[in-house]
Amino acid sequence: MNLKTASNSVPPAEPRNEQRNYCIGLCLALVLTVIAFGLVWLKMVSGTQALAVLGVLALVQVVVHLRFFLHIDLGKSHRDDLMLILFTSLILLLIVLGTIWILWDQHARMM
């Protein structure tokens, strides 16, 4: 391994820091997953309300994954990737909402 540049620049805290990041991500994701499944198991949500609550939980969990597993943050050096992700999210939103809207409308007209 190429360690010649490393000998004096590795702060001993860093590996531990990065490990901790993954552990935080795992814990948060576990908590969010258990809440989502718990709500449905205990029949505490239903219908449109379920869609909203579960949707928000999923969104938070996606952000947790992006932050702690994929390490996307708002730092300056990551702007390109952040732009790429935000732009793709916009496209995804258009595809999903557009499809649902149009097909729903078609369905209503055919009833």
Binding site: S46, D81, T88
Partner: protein, 210 residues
Amino acid sequence: MNAPQPLHPGVNLDVTDRKSHEKASEVIFGFWIFLMSDLVLFAALFATYAAMSTQGIAQGPAPSEVFDLGSAFIETLLLLLSSFTFGFAILAMKYSTSRLRLLAWLGVTAVLGAAFVAFELHDYYVMIVNNDAWPQTSGFLSAYYLLTGTHAVHVSAGILWMIVLAVQVMTLGTNPLVKLRLLRLALFWHMLDIVWVGIFTFVYLFGVAA
């Protein structure tokens, strides 16, 4: 080159391997573009599923009759844990001088991934045997098998890819090329877990709760 700069999101190799790090930003950004276009594919499948699962049930079973939440929960845990262990594989690659630790974490990840695929195939089997829920039964089931099947195929491809890279680590060692390949596979694997968050929420949980 003074203070190491993070060149790309994700684990940067700067502190332990400058040479790999300098080549990383380009290939990793390119891989992000692939990942995002892959997500567009999944978005189209999700949209189809959203329309089909409410309007395409026909004479077949409804989502709440065929889904087994317990099994979906186990699959979620398996995939989440595998994402976590892959993170540790990458850290082992970055900091540890022995290949064994990297290979061990990769092995754990592959086994968890394989268990996930096995559970999913078992789900399909149970659905078909108990509910006669074939893909051709209704639009809802076609869309369901297409969406979850595409995801399972991605996971299986990821496992194959992991085996190939494990062989490369054993034969070529952790040279810069192999390291960058592993970094990209890690991104792919984490992204599949994100897609699964969408699947377990909108397919399984919302299917049962609605």
